[in-house]
């Protein structure tokens, strides 16, 4: 892995955005996440890596309470965003998810026009007072997702008619349209070809300036390319967490080393 270029680690901001303390997740009798403690910094890309079924996606879905939609899932421990416990009784998950956007593994645009896809979030959250403001939000979001130039002439075309990479960027535009503070990405490139992957990765770089980005990925090279910090998950445990460069060049744990050198996973 000598040719791997690591992202510049200008870690100027050490402000903690998301803090997890003693998080356990159970799916029925399955203990999916075992005692995860992690501090995720603001304006930084944090990557979760690990073999399939290690719980990295599960943990990601805890951060915006998407696991609430699974009836058998049970979560213990605290997850704080800006010091507020998101599992507090008073927190409405709907409000939380406007603050913590999510991009899914498979591009899942609504079967509506490109414009409506992006405008839906601002509409339901009342972020625009009139059509002009909504137009502006749609344009900025599409620009942030590096999709504007490709679709500006066909905003009324169906979102599902775009290519896979464009669809995923549309989903990112949709997620940033609600002005979230945290952006969760669950293997956003696993269904994309290398060119589209490259575009999305470049996009993640830019998004980092505004959001705290958490990305789950199977690809270690991707983690090394886009992230500043990396957490390695193994069988529901977070084995190691640190600067991406350290994790890849100098892992402390034997399991991490096995994984990144290709002996497991």
């Amino acid at each position: 892995m000598n040719d791997m270029r690591f992202v510049e680690r200008t870690v100027g901001n050490e402000e903690v955005k998301i803090a997890a303390r003693g998080v356990h997740v159970y799916y029925g009798d399955t203990h999916a996440i075992k005692d995860v403690n992690i501090d995720i910094a603001d304006k930084m890309v944090t990557a979760f890596i690990g073999p399939s079924g290690c719980g990295k996606s599960t943990f990601l879905r805890c951060i915006n309470r998407m696991n609430d939609t699974i009836p058998i899932a049970r979560i213990e421990g605290d997850i704080m965003i800006d010091g507020e416990d998101i599992y507090d009784r008073r927190v409405d998950p709907v409000q939380l998810r406007a603050k913590v956007g999510m991009v899914f593994q498979k591009p899942n645009p609504f079967p509506k026009s490109i414009y409506d896809n992006v405008a839906y979030g601002p509409k339901i959250h009342g972020l625009a007072r009139n059509k002009a403001e909504l137009d502006e939000i749609v344009e900025t979001s599409l620009r942030r997702a590096a999709l504007w130039d490709e679709v500006k002439d066909r905003l009324q075309a169906p979102g599902t008619g775009l290519s896979g990479g464009q669809q995923q960027r549309l989903c990112i535009a949709r997620a940033v349209a609600t002005s979230p503070e945290v952006l969760l990405m669950d293997e956003p490139c696993s269904a994309l070809d290398p060119i589209a992957t490259d575009q999305v990765e470049n996009l993640i770089h830019e998004l980092r300036e505004r959001y705290s980005v958490v990305i789950v990925t199977h690809s270690m090279s991707q983690a090394s390319r886009v992230s500043q910090r990396t957490a390695y998950f193994h069988l529901g445990e977070m084995v190691e967490y640190g600067e991406t460069g350290d994790i890849f060049t100098n892992p402390r744990d034997q399991r991490t080393e096995n994984y990144i050198t290709g002996r497991i996973g």
Binding site: N64, M66, T69, P71, V94, Q95, L96, R97, A98, K99, G101, M102, V103, F104, K106, N108, P109, F110, P111, Y120, G121, I124, H125, P158, G159, T160, G161, C171, R174, A175, A177, T178
Partner: protein, 450 residues
């Protein structure tokens, strides 16, 4: 793994030529061929049965849409029909059909004479050529147009059932010999009338619009009340079962917690779909008529009973349609902070719409053809009065329904009702066909192509 040795040459099973199918492949292919043949036979049998059914219904029923009529010039004697002489329809209504019968009979005799037809039949037998219904027809015409009184007007009256049957091939000279209701002489007279251009066969609008007639007047029997009754019931079923069914399915599928109670409901809904429809009739009789005191034979009760019957179908179809919407759409909506309800109503429901509509229409079609529960709530009654418009309380007026009318027709002894029953089945099938076409159309229209 078997180990190949020198003395077992069969250890290379695929070594033979590809140009020749080996025994195993040939056997496998033969089996597949046989299976396809069985499938083809099954499909062909089904189609054959359908064709036979259609042929039997169409041959028996198409003639119901044609009706033989006789044109008679009736002298409308002012003294008899309007003794007061002021042409007031209210006063003229005091003259009953008994007052009109002799006029019609005279008119018939004069018409035959004027056409130069010789007959030695007694007057009573000649009068049997026309339907008993025609007197009432004549009276209704005169009351609607009082100015006709005093003139001799041409009136198109229904030929009697046997004469009608003669021109449709159901009655022949041979059968007339044995029939006490008709004689070959009467048939000859009818033929003479046809030659004189007074008797003709045309499209039978009355069959679709007229109410039912007594069992001795098959020529006058129509489906008007039954079609209206069925239409009213479908209105009630649609208005009640679509919102209730869709709301119940959305709740059960998207919101209800998964526990024993909802499992129980689910099982029971599936069971309800399999309950014999007559049971719903008993339920309707007990609850809607005996307990709630709603009128018998009314479309509202029929509609309520059919709603109960249709609900499980609609709920099952709707839940299937909701289940078929990919969960990624729900995730996408929830992920950007839509509430559960917004996710369902903005994204899931529109995608499930084609399935819901198809299920609803199929449920309605099922309800349209349902007979058994209606028998129990009195819709099998003989109804000659049209129900009022729905906004005038027409839903509470007595009416019949199409399938019940078919049953009613088949219960009557006159063979002319066989034709009427088959004709009513054709009308019912046309309605079902229209509904199924609507289902296909709506499915196409709402289906997202992206």
């Amino acid at each position: 793994m078997t180990i190949a040795t020198a003395d077992t040459p069969r250890s290379t099973p695929n070594a033979g030529s590809l140009m020749q199918a080996d025994a195993k492949t040939a056997k496998r292919n033969a089996r597949e061929k046989r299976f396809r043949l069985y499938g083809l036979i099954a499909v062909c049998t089904g189609i054959l049965m359908l064709v036979l059914l259609m042929i039997s219904i169409l041959t028996a029923g198409l003639s119901a849409f044609r009706q033989t009529t006789i044109e008679i010039s009736v002298p409308l004697d002012a003294e008899r029909l309007d003794p007061e002489g002021n042409r007031n329809p209210v006063e003229m209504a005091s003259v009953t059909t008994f007052g009109y019968a002799p006029l019609l009979r005279d008119g018939l005799m004069q018409t035959i004479e004027a056409a130069g037809i010789e007959t030695d039949l007694p007057e009573g037998d000649i009068a049997d050529l026309i339907s008993d219904e025609s007197v009432a027809q004549l009276r209704a015409t005169v009351l609607a147009n009082p100015e006709l009184v005093g003139q001799t007007v041409p009136v198109e009256v229904l030929a009697s059932g046997r004469i009608d049957g003669f021109f449709k091939g159901r009655v022949t000279y041979e059968t007339a010999e044995l029939d006490s209701n008709i004689s070959p002489e009467q048939l000859r007279l009818a033929e003479a009338l046809e030659e004189a251009g007074l008797l003709r066969t045309g499209f039978n609008w009355r069959f679709i619009t007229a109410p039912d007639a007594s069992s001795t007047r098959p020529e006058a029997a129509g489906l008007g009340v039954a079609i209206l009754g069925s239409f009213y019931m479908m209105l009630v079923v649609l208005v009640l079962s679509l919102p209730i069914g869709v709301a119940a399915s959305i709740y059960l599928e998207e919101f209800a917690p998964q526990n024993r109670f909802t499992d129980l409901i689910e099982v029971n809904i599936s069971n309800l779909a399999a309950v014999p429809s007559i049971v719903f009739g008993i339920l309707g009789l007990a609850i809607f008529i005996n307990f709630a005191g709603l009128p018998q034979s009314a479309p509202i009760v029929g509609g309520l009973v059919l709603t109960l019957m249709t609900l499980p179908t609609i709920i099952i179809a709707t839940r299937a349609a909701l289940k078929a919407v990919p969960p990624s759409i729900r995730d996408a909506a929830l992920g950007i902070g839509a509430s559960k309800m917004q996710a369902v109503f903005h994204h899931v429901l529109p995608l499930a719409m084609p399935g819901i509509l198809t299920g609803t229409i199929i449920g309605l079609a099922q309800a349209l053809g349902e007979t058994a529960p209606l028998l129990l709530i009195g819709m099998v009654a003989f109804v000659r009065e049209y129900p009022d418009a729905p906004w005038d309380g027409g839903l509470f007026d007595p009416a019949t329904a199409l399938p019940v009318q078919v049953y009613n027709f088949t219960q009557r002894s006159d063979p002319a009702f066989v034709e009427r029953a088959s004709g009513a089945i054709i009308v019912l099938l046309i309605f079902l066909l229209i509904m199924n076409l609507a289902a296909i159309f709506l499915r196409r229209k709402f289906e997202r192509r992206w």
